[in-house]
Symmetry: D2
Subunit: 347 residues, 4 copies
Amino acid sequence: MQKVKVGIVGGTGYTGVELLRILAAHPQAEVTMITSRSEEGVALADMYPNLRGHYDLRFSVPDSAQLKTCDIVFFATPHGVAMSMAAELTDAGVKIIDLAADFRIENLTVWSKWYGMEHTEASLFDKVAYGLPEYYREQIKQAQIIANPGCYPTSTMLGALPLLKNNLVDVNNIIVDGKSGVSGAGKGANVAMLGAEMSESFKAYGVAGHRHLPEMKEKMAQIGGREVGLTFVPHLVPMIRGMENTIYATMTSEMSQAQLQELYEETYKDEPFVDVMPAGSLPETRMVKGSNMCRIAIYRPVGSSQVVVTSVIDNLVKGAAGQAVQNMNILFGIDETMGLQQVALLP
Amino acid sequence: MQKVKVGIVGGTGYTGVELLRILAAHPQAEVTMITSRSEEGVALADMYPNLRGHYDLRFSVPDSAQLKTCDIVFFATPHGVAMSMAAELTDAGVKIIDLAADFRIENLTVWSKWYGMEHTEASLFDKVAYGLPEYYREQIKQAQIIANPGCYPTSTMLGALPLLKNNLVDVNNIIVDGKSGVSGAGKGANVAMLGAEMSESFKAYGVAGHRHLPEMKEKMAQIGGREVGLTFVPHLVPMIRGMENTIYATMTSEMSQAQLQELYEETYKDEPFVDVMPAGSLPETRMVKGSNMCRIAIYRPVGSSQVVVTSVIDNLVKGAAGQAVQNMNILFGIDETMGLQQVALLP
Amino acid sequence: MQKVKVGIVGGTGYTGVELLRILAAHPQAEVTMITSRSEEGVALADMYPNLRGHYDLRFSVPDSAQLKTCDIVFFATPHGVAMSMAAELTDAGVKIIDLAADFRIENLTVWSKWYGMEHTEASLFDKVAYGLPEYYREQIKQAQIIANPGCYPTSTMLGALPLLKNNLVDVNNIIVDGKSGVSGAGKGANVAMLGAEMSESFKAYGVAGHRHLPEMKEKMAQIGGREVGLTFVPHLVPMIRGMENTIYATMTSEMSQAQLQELYEETYKDEPFVDVMPAGSLPETRMVKGSNMCRIAIYRPVGSSQVVVTSVIDNLVKGAAGQAVQNMNILFGIDETMGLQQVALLP
Amino acid sequence: MQKVKVGIVGGTGYTGVELLRILAAHPQAEVTMITSRSEEGVALADMYPNLRGHYDLRFSVPDSAQLKTCDIVFFATPHGVAMSMAAELTDAGVKIIDLAADFRIENLTVWSKWYGMEHTEASLFDKVAYGLPEYYREQIKQAQIIANPGCYPTSTMLGALPLLKNNLVDVNNIIVDGKSGVSGAGKGANVAMLGAEMSESFKAYGVAGHRHLPEMKEKMAQIGGREVGLTFVPHLVPMIRGMENTIYATMTSEMSQAQLQELYEETYKDEPFVDVMPAGSLPETRMVKGSNMCRIAIYRPVGSSQVVVTSVIDNLVKGAAGQAVQNMNILFGIDETMGLQQVALLP
């Protein structure tokens, strides 16, 4: 089989280098171009020395004609960029995976409000699938544009959706207490993300709301079949990689902890990248560091009406670049796990 | 005024060294003895080199006769030790502050269940006050034994009690998502707390329940006037010091965010160690590192029925040794802030 | 005694906030103004929440007339700023402590080469003392301008100078392997200092040379009496605060390890902020976190011609703001240790 | 080709889990047994959750008969264990790679002194090769027992040996300032390695000498052809993985920096796991995190007689398990890079 020719637009940030790390070991894909206006001509390995010896590429200026020679183009860009090039590329038969948010939310009024710009490509949405394979695999197979989910939505929905789909909880009041490592803030020069600022400290952030909230609400309603009342408070953890979400919901069913455990195991038994932890154990983010796994535990605290789900991912892998490659595999009929079976780095 | 003569039983752990750090700069207190069976004869400064030049003391074997020469004895010991010496010391007129849990829970059936031992000193409880000055100051003044609160209860209750006391929320379903640095686990040799294990990772723990839960439930009911339905999930943060609790409750009142802000500011306006953050800001644990402050923010997320409170302390200071010294100051009629006005270490 | 009126120019960086932290607890000093062009009107506590409740000041635009009302002005500014205001302020009788490098190097040709600007104030050098009290105390007492030493020079010279002064080593080949936490890089938005970049990594830097090298060479020659051949390689440690220097020199004397230990203890026995560790132990940076101490160990490795000295400081305290306050105390005849006796924060 | 059947003795520590991580992705090797007395019957994935889904194995009690069914046995054990089983296994035709120190030092008097036990297997040394492929590849091919090098020796010797082999430096006085992350201390419960103890701190250790010193001295003399005077001071870095060594030597040649650069590039141009960084750049440990690369820079500081080499590895990969797999590949005639081409995890 011929290798999939991959282009990456905007590969200078953390999701870009993570795509490159993963694709370097992918037997059926080959990165043929990577673009960055600001870094034109710079060798990949000079920007990311971990790639020394793995790539000979240099950053080039984004150019549609060139990108059309690719089978697939990943956008690891700020919001709005994929939107501006999507029509031209899809018209040329190129598939697109957007790691930003341009196609994540179908309700464009909501999207515009949270992202602060007009959405100019409403007509493309019939080619779009939301790239959470565990719940949208069939749509992904048919799509030409994949909206790669946000990290918080990925981890939260894999954890919460079995409760919603099975009508086990009060959907009016679901609480998601999210925690993310600092790589989630990207590689921009930002005083608040300096090592001297974020190390040895923990905080909630996003009191004014987080863009992943409307994304979660829309998709949870879509899959669960009902509007969801969601309170989401994200927090910053003094570590590089990793994300944990602790989800609280009020049980409306009498299901025991053992039954919930069984339900979750059954739900995900064929999913290669969702691991339901054994009863009585809880996942740690290091259990997925560098890997595409999502690990989940579910339990009912003694004396509480709540069910608690904890869900961990590596925000750069299952929360971004790994899931994007998983989507690419689905799009091209490749084994879904190809290039994604790295064991987490522990310790 | 003569200095308060202080004895410390069991000062080899983190709360012990933190007591010593704080008391070294306290103008009205003098540590006259510190005990440890295992470290008898070892100079303080050899165990804790940060104390070199500040203390000439050596660890001695705990001895009641000697301890009775103190005005106050702090117990920085495992659970059960303070209980075993409290009667003898209080009979001799010595005041006690127990940094462990022996006198935190009045319902001794509950206590025994969670701490796995019989409570042998029920009769002492009429000399006990729960050492959360912001809510028990008058009782502390009269007491001879202070049950110094747990770290999670301190941070959580300072954050949540204004809601409860003012009947603003549904008390049947309060959620506390707690996060603590690793110093909370103490100085015992424990593989799970090795730097190579806990660094760069985040996890929930305590799926089977945490001892601070019954403590919070009892005191919150005591102060709020009603039983409280509480779900508490603690998490471990990869940092040494600091604790954050994010508290979720369903509003039963129509109070606006601005009114809540005002209520909190009013509630704590005379408290030297509770700081209500300006509206729109959120506290970070580093804002209290090494200091006795608790900093709190309250807000109502848009589109949610919930009120969210975030509360940070240094688990070793306001969560342990600092609060203990605050209690000592109250017990001896010293200015409550004496020795406790260190500025947090930032960055 | 009236309090010393302190002005701070440029207090938005880490040395600025550290000065404020230390001075908040100084019984004989009062910060009466703090300037920053970019932050004019901002309350100190809004920029540095650890200072909430400790200061009522706001940043003002630097103004000579106002600054002349101070007894002393600290410059926590980029290089070149103190130089531009020093003549006017000293003419008005104001004392100056420059935490930047404007007056550290007397050889202005060397200075200009390393700092990339002309030195316009050669004539002021007769009012200048190099602010390393352990070696320049008498000069400091007489001076009007204090060149507060760099962090690497402070730690290195306190460690190495007893060897040089006593002619014990080959001065042609001294090696200083330096390590610093990231706060040393300041609070500027700098991608290389992001938490996601510097955490969990260690590196040498400054292959092209470091500005602290000519400073060390000049002062070591001045005190040791001979030119010094110095190789200095700085490294970045993934931690916020702290600096360690490991110094290697070839012994030219037959002194035993025990004799060296005795020499060091004797040298520093009256110094309040230099602590020679007991023989056989080695200092850790956490032993001085937040404190003004320098802790030093000296030993002779078995089978080696070398003597090894390890020296630790908190780069922001003894390496910057603490030493500046120590110098202020000397300038004003205050007890040298006043406001500087904080115990290091451990753990 | 049939897969190599691999046994691992003592796989509960960090080098054990790292071997398992690497071998999970090795196309030509299969782990058929793993032993641990203390963990008999425990599933691998229960001890190391990152391995969930990758292995079905359980720990078994070490048993010679069973181990003889393997083609190769890795010993990830305390010192002395490999020695006790080596004769029996090699007699049965099994190859051995010892990740401990039993066969690292040929001078058994020296070995016994540093390791505190008798060496009972002197006669096996004719089957032994020191497993640093870049300098002992031919010997490894012929050997039956591989002494996998220590982490400090690997990084130091790859950095220093080109200088020694080419007679460019004074061999009487080479200084190695080493720095290691805490995973190097292993997974034992050790108070000094607790997160609350080692985080946010830096220190030198090993004042009494480090076991890797005699190993380096012997091998450097062996390859360089002359006795080496070596001063080695190891330091502990607050990070999990990674090691950097800064090597200082006095030039006895007139070689310029450019010539040295060329010499190093030439020396290692065919080595898959040694990367000489471009002139003017310096390696960071994160550039090799999780990878088998050693990255090296060499430069001559201005105005110094010294040459400086900095060399980084991941202590658990090129410093332990990765190099062990590289040696296995050589032993079995497999492509030396097989299973070892993972890109370093960055950020």
